[in-house]
Symmetry: C2
Subunit: 441 residues, 2 copies
């Protein structure tokens, strides 16, 4: 038998990742990465090399390298040296470059100049443009947000769950559901793990899930995706929705602290400043928030909750008067909440609930609340909302068996990422976004 030959020569020097170069000034290194950009001044040759950990300038003096096209994968042997112009940074003085995989042609857009390109073009070539430093910085921040979400909840005794995405019925009625052909029968893609995470409270008491959800949004706006990552938590044995807000506050604190600690270069590259999470995020009942916005800004709010302008003004007020970028809007009216939301009596003649929203800088990033746990109250609510009890039978069953008072919340990962980083279009906070018209790449 013959053994296949490895494609690359066995290296004498172990590979160094770019993020570790700063501590290696004067040392020889072997780098591997892709060429982000190149400049040939004759005697002097410059290459910006990108690997999974960062990017660094590499300089060749009199090497006469045949510089390959940008995005080619190469190995560079060289010596780390202080950067001649940027204090505290390093560059790599090249001794040799080996081509590992040549780019066959120039990229459709120049990756160092993504900010000048139309979003549609960026998204049409997303599989390549996602390599740009800004594009990947957004997703790296998101990865740390997810890790922080899990770490915070794990420390509080929550168990990770995985619930079905193919379901027999939607969580909140039939609107915006995608239909799946399930061996000839119709099924649906889950809009939310809501009902399943509640059921799992009976098993683990405290649960979380990080998973995609699916919404057939007809409108193609900068805030909507048809598929996004939902960060869900649910906990039992609460005294009220106040406990849920306490948990969410701690979760956000850990998430943002983790990003601050691990994503310094990404935040600097994106020019983003993280908000501070106060020890106690202000909590304002919705009806008070409406009155406040009208009183302070002369903005009359229509409808049942807050309109986008009302949310923006409330955010402005809370920032100015209470020094917080975050605010919980509590006691949402029943008419603006789904059937599983726990009622909380009446305020000024309006039936309200234990449901809340969380706003960041005047934009909603999460919904949550205490849920109904009493089986009779639940049956009445399903009827009052005009839902089909049969399609909710698996869900309703658990409430016959002593479900504790419970509640939870959900955060849209892409929306939170975009808001934190000041990105106007939520599509850019997802690797391969899906919207009304986009299924590729």
């Amino acid at each position: 038998m013959t053994t296949p030959q490895p494609e690359m020569p066995a290296p004498a020097l172990p590979r160094t990742f770019i993020r570790d170069l700063a501590a290696l000034s004067g040392q020889p290194v072997r780098l591997r990465g892709q060429i982000l950009s190149r400049r040939d001044l004759g005697g002097l040759q410059f290459v910006t090399l990108r690997d999974g950990s960062g990017a660094v300038q590499c300089v060749g003096d009199g090497l006469g390298l045949d510089l390959p096209l940008p995005e080619s994968s190469v190995e560079i042997l060289g010596t780390v040296a202080p950067h001649p112009k940027r204090a505290g940074e390093v560059e790599v003085r090249m001794q040799a470059m080996h081509l590992l995989a040549a780019a066959a042609e120039p990229t459709p857009v120049e990756l160092p100049k993504l900010s000048r390109v139309h979003p549609d073009t960026l998204l049409n070539h997303r599989a390549v443009t996602v390599r740009g430093l800004e594009a990947r910085a957004v997703l790296r921040v998101q990865a740390e947000l997810l890790a922080g979400f899990r770490a915070a909840l794990g420390d509080m005794g929550f168990t990770e769950i995985s619930t079905p995405k193919i379901v027999e019925a939607g969580a909140e009625g039939g609107a915006n559901l995608f239909t799946v052909d399930y061996f000839g029968e119709p099924a649906y893609l889950a809009q939310s793990p809501q009902l399943y995470k509640q059921m799992m409270v009976g098993a683990f008491e405290r649960v979380f899930e990080v998973a995609p959800v699916f919404r057939g949004e007809q409108h193609n706006t900068s805030r909507h995706l048809t598929e996004y990552l939902s960060l869900d938590a649910e906990l039992g044995f609460i005294d009220s929705e106040e406990d849920v807000m306490d948990v969410e506050t701690e979760v956000l604190r850990v998430m943002l602290a983790r990003v601050a600690e691990r994503c310094g270069p990404e935040l600097a590259l994106l020019g983003a400043t993280l908000p501070e999470v106060p020890a106690r995020i202000p909590r304002i009942p919705l009806l008070e928030a409406r009155a406040l916005v009208e009183r302070e800004f002369g903005h009359p709010v229509g409808g049942k909750d807050l309109d986008p302008e009302g949310e923006r003004l409330l955010g402005e007020y809370v920032r100015r008067e209470l020094g917080s970028d975050f605010v919980f809007v509590t006691q949402f009216p029943q008419a603006a909440r789904p059937f599983y939301t726990h009622p909380a009596g009446e305020v000024d003649g309006v039936p309200v609930t234990r449901g809340f929203d969380l706003l960041l800088r005047g934009l909603e990033i999460t919904s949550g609340g205490q849920r109904i746990h009493d089986p009779q109250m639940l049956a009445q609510s399903i009827e009052a909302y005009g839902l089909n009890p049969d399609s909710l039978r698996g869900y309703s069953e658990v409430f016959r068996y002593g479900m504790p008072p419970h509640g939870g919340f959900a955060i849209g990962a892409e929306r939170l990422t975009a808001l934190l980083l000041g990105i106007g279009n939520v599509r850019m906070a997802r690797a391969f976004p899906r919207d009304r018209t986009r299924l590729q790449p």
Copy 2:
């Protein structure tokens, strides 16, 4: 305005979780949980209380409690005391019990006696039976496996990604795809993040994803789910598939070490013994494995790879001769691998690849390998496999721009969990399994 009243009285004593009781002998505690079982002997009353962290026996002496039905949610005030019969364990001497949420009726099966119940019955009432201690122990072990997977890869510089589950075409051809109605156009549920994780190697070099995948499996066996959790990793700048096997070995080591460290009670309850992950898992080329099984056991292997009996015998051999529960089977023939697998020349006239499987105790838990990164080789492979280049255009595009040599692997979370814990039916390693006929609960 009125403020809604909280439903439970404000407690003087903070709540204690059951897992923390062992260190509190002699102390007063306040517990919250659900009643797993109850026994009333007149003067003496016994309750097994379950919370998210564990279960404990609570005893009332002369309290004359009106014991609620099993699964009722209660609060118990009492004092921690050594268990009278089990050395090193504690029980709680009750002073009072408050009902938080009464079960309306007895559960359809008794949760302490799940092992005597038919699997179909268990699954029909999964939302309730998942509360049983054995059922949830399986899922808790799985949660730690996921956490270990992420921790190991995070430490090796991998970035978490989230790739689309609604796709325009399948990763490996059209078989077993679920169709989605995407605003009137057909789309599909992703069978695997394979192509997307490869694309993301261009951005982050090392990536992983933990997410559901969907397979329209026609056969309803104990090993197949139509929706399962796939643990995917992919890394660039490898020298060969050997690097991928090194990474997977380290990942498994961390995963199992984490379960061993954190799931002692769950493993004991399930009677499971974890396998050891050797520093180097044996690697045997497929053709050698086939010859070996025939030579050692007289088992002639048909087809192109190993049949299930061949896998079992190979596992037996490796356990006996090499002292390992794991074995990598390498150099799979091209005919048994998908189009993106990197070829590795011929062995005895058979075109082979850099693709491998990992067997645990004679059963496959993972597939992996080095992938094609050369655009011409990829185009030829797509043609040779008879696939439609148009449906793969987003994928093929990235290879024109210097993709480094790369490879990866995928582990089925439920199958690994079931194998580690000695569970015969993979459905029991998922909270709410989906199969050919099951969409509820």
